[in-house]
Assembly symmetry: C2
Homo-oligomer: 372 residues x 2
DNA sequence: ATGAAAGCGCTAACAC
DNA sequence: GTGTTAGCGCTTTCAT
């Protein structure tokens, strides 16, 4: 009688214990290795080893551990792991703007490679502000990301925060908007070649008075594009007419519109315009349309493209597009290479230059000879 | 003499120690609280407290600590913090596709709110695959993110992984593509109202035979849009002609093109088309153009928009656009609310329905009365 | 084949 | 006002 009662109480307390236990687990859903250990009467280390198929562990133990972990839906805590191994399996990305076709394509490429390599991707945007870029660099560093991919903001004119990052040993890869003066891995678009191709294409189509709406000359990309433009003219024995090269320093489409109007007012106006970017192309298009002129019958346009206005101009105009997805992929590959570098191997500082794509819209380019 | 020599040796050893120390720090750039403590001959806890302006710490100590931490550029290790507080200050996002205008706008909205709340954002994409979606859910859970924002993949037809997540206590907010059967926070677009507005707009412009290219009727959104369309007709005392409602089940533009051709072959063809999505709109546009008909002189089109084809149709056609940025913001706000909920407060399960925007292109809509 | 113990970097309850 | 200690969850020597 007494024994019976004792056993009953024991059972009851066990049941209650289990109940409380599972309730607790329900509530915070965080089963740990300790929990498994307690349940199976082994030490945490055994669980840890069993879960990773360590050869020392007996098959029975392994089986038991795996079954229980399955049953309780044990999920390892990556944060603890990160702390232990000083490795987060996470990379950080800093870009000027997310909702931008080019950059979202880049992110997609980054995620593609990172995911396959077992890495997470933390996205931050600088919104073209250097302050925010600095905050993001610091925050990502504090999160101990294993590497950082960055395209600098338009405002960024000093680079201490980036140099510090590199000096602290964080692998960094720059893409698209890179810092010339920093010795690091970079992935860029071959703007010069893109501009060269676009201009050559215009020439091949028979255009002979091609203007260029250039970007601010302190930006490397603007300069490269201008150089590509000039090189194409030179290689085709065209004269370089400085009156047909106009710098749009503000970057607004109103400016481009005004400048295009100047060009159109020439006694011998251009028959084609190569625009440094889509904003300029849009401005040019606006000016032309307002005059009741037709594209491409009266004048052709090709522009480097970019998201903000692309939905407005892409269908109408030919463009030189940047390979965003590929850029994301290549940058991430480069980063992975650096991350997996042995401690004592020397850092790599490769620069990859990607080709642009020339997208020709029939409606925007015709041989003048085919015009009425 | 002897004393002098001793002092010199002492100084020398100190200098060497410092040198080695700073070299070590240079190499891995990871100054810890312990390092600061050792340097200042205080305990780590004092450093910790001094850095967070704990009232117990003397002003002098605080000053010394802050100066040193500044000098050595100490950066707290967020991983350790996360482990300690079981809080990562990170939220996870699972979307079908990143390089999609709508979704990148959503991400941007998410990052906006998250950043201001001091959170990081981890982006993962499911690529419309349920397997990958499940992997991502698990990986994010393992990373112990403080909450998850998700738009389910097109393939997702069972929801255990999501229900488990919620049961485990992870705050979850669904957006755009939500799961009806799960009780959780959701942010959606009011498709019915959007369709209603677009249709009403066509009616107001004087169109009187409006066809609808509908989507597969198992998708809630298609159904909602169809309902909005019908409601607008009904409210304007238009007859609902089932012959003018065509379901495009495949979702290809070729299908939409073929169906549009059917419509155009009617003895009394429609004078306007309201397309369930941009693919359908594009198909309709193609069919119309191939017949040499003009938009909108011969027939008008309005479509729900979405990125893939938007650069092709947006400039030409009016559209109903989804507020991606705002959706990201609202979803994140909702998530933050849940995260900041006291342990014992009951979960919230709010649903927010956002308005669409009707974007009217002059070139795509004219009063028939103004036609020749 | 398994356990005990230390430690990744930080904080907070508890001493003194 | 400051130090000691324990512990977040996990791995990994070193014992046994």
């Amino acid at each position: 009688m007494l024994i019976f009662s004792f056993v009953r109480r024991l059972l009851k307390s066990i049941v209650i214990f289990r109940l409380i236990n599972s309730l607790k687990e329900m509530k915070k859903g965080n089963i740990t290795i300790k929990d498994l250990a307690r349940e199976l009467n082994v030490s945490p280390s055994t669980i840890s080893r069993a879960l990773k198929d360590h050869p020392d562990i007996s098959p029975e133990t392994k089986k038991a551990v795996k079954e229980l972990s399955e049953k309780l839906n044990y999920q390892p805590n990556s944060v603890a792991l990160s702390l232990r191994q000083s490795k987060t399996n996470t990379i950080g990305v800093i870009i000027p703007e997310i909702a931008h076709f080019f950059f979202s394509a880049v992110i997609s490429g980054i995620e593609d490679i990172a995911h396959n390599a077992g890495y997470h991707v933390i996205i931050t945007q600088s919104n073209e502000s250097i302050d925010r870029e600095m905050m993001n660099t610091k925050a990502l560093f504090n999160s101990r990301v294993d590497g950082i991919l960055i395209s600098i903001s338009r405002e960024t004119n000093q680079f201490n925060h980036l140099q510090q990052l590199i000096d602290a040993g964080t692998p960094v890869v720059f893409f698209d908007r890179v810092v010339e003066s920093i010795n690091a891995c970079k992935v860029i678009v071959n703007d010069e070649q893109g501009a060269y191709e676009a201009t050559t294409h215009l020439i091949e189509q028979g255009y002979y008075r091609i203007a260029h709406l250039a970007g601010p000359q302190n930006l490397t990309i603007s300069n490269n594009r201008l150089n590509g433009f000039k090189a194409a003219l030179a290689d085709n024995k065209y004269m370089i007419d400085d009156n047909l090269i106009k710098i749009c320093g503000l970057g607004t489409y109103e400016e481009a519109e005004a400048i295009t109007n100047e060009l159109l007012d020439y006694r011998f106006p251009p028959d084609a315009i190569f625009a440094n970017n889509d904003v300029a192309a849009y401005g040019a298009m606006t000016a032309i349309k307002k005059r009741g002129m037709k594209i491409p019958e009266d004048i052709a346009i090709v522009g480097f493209s970019n998201w903000r206005f692309s939905s407005l101009i892409q269908p109408a105009l030919s463009s030189v597009t940047q390979p965003g997805f590929k850029m994301g992929q290549e940058a991430t590959r480069l980063l992975m290479k650096q991350i997996n570098l042995g401690k004592d191997e020397e850092a790599i500082t490769e620069t990859i230059s990607l080709k642009t794509n020339l997208v020709v819209r029939e409606s925007s380019l015709k041989r003048p000879s085919e015009q009425v």
